[in-house]
């Protein structure tokens, strides 16, 4: 962890320049994504639609496609990407483990159990029911992990409780999969691959606060997470209280990731790799890492979603497939070009 000492005094100016660059990249990707889709709509028409929307002018032609389908979808991708990557960065800091991701605290497996339960046992696989069950399932599993994990001090116990609850939840998913009929099987398979296709303004209104508010609060723990990199005892000596940091961060991540997963299904890879990538290139200072992860995760998911809906148009690929397919090789390349002997984090 020598790099911590080296990177902490990194000049504020260069860090802000990097964040600015990432924000610009997100903006560019978002603009590009709005012009992409199964329907061929020229950039001019996209700009026109946005302009008419902003000025309240009557809609024309394909405005409905841009404003009713692509725009809410773009915003959902931005929020979910930011939530997954920031959640990953937070967990990696909290567990002091570069392999941690939000799934470790049970939120994804719990959400999967809730969603699959709603799909298999629900009379009609109404999508609201699935989202509600997934959200509640994710929060319940995380609460269980936390209550069991905190019975002994230290972060390792939390991690082990997470492993156990994950296994139990996935066994539940397996049992429900066995009970499912053919159509339900298809539904739950697609749920577990993720999709942003369900985005609409009304759903966005419901999911946004659950994702955005925790996301705004998480970076306030950045300095404490930096201290935690030195070790729990050392952080306590520096005046931080790891035992208070833990429940707060776990709750915030569970809320934002739980809400994301509830509405989009499981989208793997983003939470693990985006913070990792940024740490490898810019160092482990969480004051930079957390906001950068939010921007990077949003960019990756927006780009992946644009590809998901164009590659096999008029069909659509599950987005979880693309995040791993696009992100995986890039990540490997980055790993391989690093010189031997460098630390992983």
């Amino acid at each position: 962890m020598n790099s911590v000492a080296a990177s902490l005094p990194r000049r504020r100016a260069s860090r802000q320049a990097l964040l600015g660059a990432l924000a610009l990249l997100l903006l560019a990707t978002a603009t590009w994504s709005l012009t992409r889709g199964a329907m061929a709509i020229s950039p001019g028409d996209v700009a026109g639609a946005l302009l008419r929307w902003l000025t309240g002018a009557p809609a024309r032609g394909d405005d409905q496609i841009i404003l009713g389908l692509r725009l809410p979808r773009l915003l959902l991708a931005t929020m979910v990407g930011a939530a997954l990557a920031t959640g990953g960065g937070t967990m990696q800091g909290l567990f002091r483990n570069p392999l941690a991701d939000p799934g470790l605290i049970g939120v994804s497996a719990g959400a999967a159990l809730g969603a699959v339960g709603a799909i298999v046992l629900g009379s009609q696989s109404g999508s609201w029911l699935v989202a509600a069950f997934a959200f509640v399932g994710g929060l319940l599993a995380t609460t269980l992990v936390f209550l069991i994990g905190r019975r002994r001090p230290g972060v390792a116990n939390l991690l082990l409780a997470g492993v156990a609850i994950n296994a139990i939840a996935m066994a539940g998913v397996g049992l429900l999969t066995y009970l499912a009929n053919e159509n339900q099987l298809r539904d739950l398979t697609y749920w577990s691959l993720g999709s942003l296709g369900g985005a609409s303004w009304s759903r966005l209104g419901i999911v946004a606060p659950w994702i955005v508010l925790p996301l705004l609060l998480v970076p306030r723990a950045a300095v404490a997470l930096n201290a935690l990199l030195l070790g729990e005892g050392e952080a306590a000596l520096l005046g931080f209280r790891p035992e208070r940091l833990q429940p707060l961060l776990v709750a915030l991540v569970a809320l934002s990731v739980g809400a994301s997963v509830a509405f989009t299904g499981v989208i793997g890879f983003v939470g693990l790799v985006v913070p990792h990538l940024l740490r490898m290139t810019c160092g482990p200072d969480h004051r930079f890492l957390l906001p950068a992860s939010a921007l990077g995760g949003a960019t990756l998911l927006v780009a992946a979603d644009a590809l998901a809906r164009t590659i096999v148009a008029p069909g659509e690929l599950p987005i979880g497939v693309l995040t791993a397919l696009v992100g995986g090789p890039f990540f490997l390349w980055l790993l391989l070009r690093r010189r031997a002997g460098e630390a992983l984090s």
């Binding site: 329907m39 066995y178 369900g198 609409s200 008029p314």
Partner: protein, 280 residues
């Protein structure tokens, strides 16, 4: 000159309007049974796209494919600028259907069909919606006649074979079709008794359970015939040889979608199956 030509064209258009105005000209068909019916009543010129379960006839595969019927993308469907969407009952997800409807496109959802009457009603409904009521009527009557003849043959059967339909055989335990499956209805229609009727839906069954079911006939998908190595391959699967079906080598490969799609081809495929196991 131009004015007159325009007027003439408008008059011609007006005169022909009552005949064609109701018929949609850019139809997206969602569901293999719907697509089969559209082709069978010769309304395929109106088709703009199909879903990935529309595999018959071969020509349907040359049309744009909007993806799996339960996992559609709203923009993908809208991009084809359909004026009518004919959807099988379980097309979805619901949000995509809402989005398509929200964009002002007419969606007609056909009711689930699991009986001869349902199939006839479905054919007639598709005929009305595509503007081919006469062809649909003829097809529905033909299908009804086939089912009536089949019912007669079934009534004349001395005994009704216990049959089990195995799906995805060859990878681990085969999946047997229990009650509430299309295969269950097809077996009954063809005069058989579903030997796996106790389990709900498609369930993996152990060799031992398969033996306990005592099937007189085993059905598999023709599409899998090569993969499982034909009848000999099936006989080598654990447990099969200890069933009455295995001993008598009464193993039948049936066309999966034709028989189980509950579209216009189900009647003749069920009749063919009945004929085969009535006179083995």
């Amino acid at each position: 000159m131009n004015v007159r030509r325009t007027l003439l064209a408008a008059t011609v258009a007006l005169l022909t309007l009552p005949g064609v105005a109701m018929a949609a000209t850019r139809i997206v068909s969602l569901g293999g049974d719907v697509t089969e019916t559209i082709y069978a009543i010769h309304a395929q010129d109106q088709l703009a796209a199909v879903d990935s379960t529309s595999t018959w006839p071969e020509a349907a595969r040359t049309l744009p494919d909007v993806g799996y019927v339960r996992q559609l993308s709203a923009e993908g469907v809208l991009a084809l600028r359909p004026d009518l969407i004919l959807a099988t009952h379980d097309a979805g997800p619901p949000t995509a259907m809402e989005q398509i409807r929200g964009a002002g496109v007419r969606i007609e959802t056909l009711p689930a069909s699991r009986s001869p009457e349902d199939i006839e009603a479905k054919i007639r409904q598709i005929g009305e919606l595509t503007g081919h009521p006469k062809e649909a009527d003829a097809l529905a009557n033909d299908v009804a006649a086939r089912f009536a003849a089949l019912a007669k043959s079934v009534a004349a059967m001395a005994n009704h074979p216990r049959a089990v339909y195995l799906m995805s055989a060859g990878h681990g335990s085969p999946m047997a079709a229990g009650h509430d499956t299309a295969a269950d209805r097809a077996i009954t229609l063809a005069g058989g008794v579903n030997a796996a009727a106790e389990v709900p839906g498609y369930k993996a069954v152990s060799p031992e359970a398969l033996v306990a079911m005592k099937p007189d006939a085993i059905l598999l998908m023709k599409e899998q015939e090569q993969a499982v190595g034909g009848i000999d391959g099936v006989l080598r699967m654990p447990g099969i040889v200890d069933t009455p079906a295995g001993k008598a080598k009464r193993i039948y490969f049936v066309e999966g979608q034709a028989l189980l799609g509950f579209g216009p081809r189900t009647a003749e495929n069920a009749a063919a199956l009945q004929a085969r196991w009535a006179h083995p």
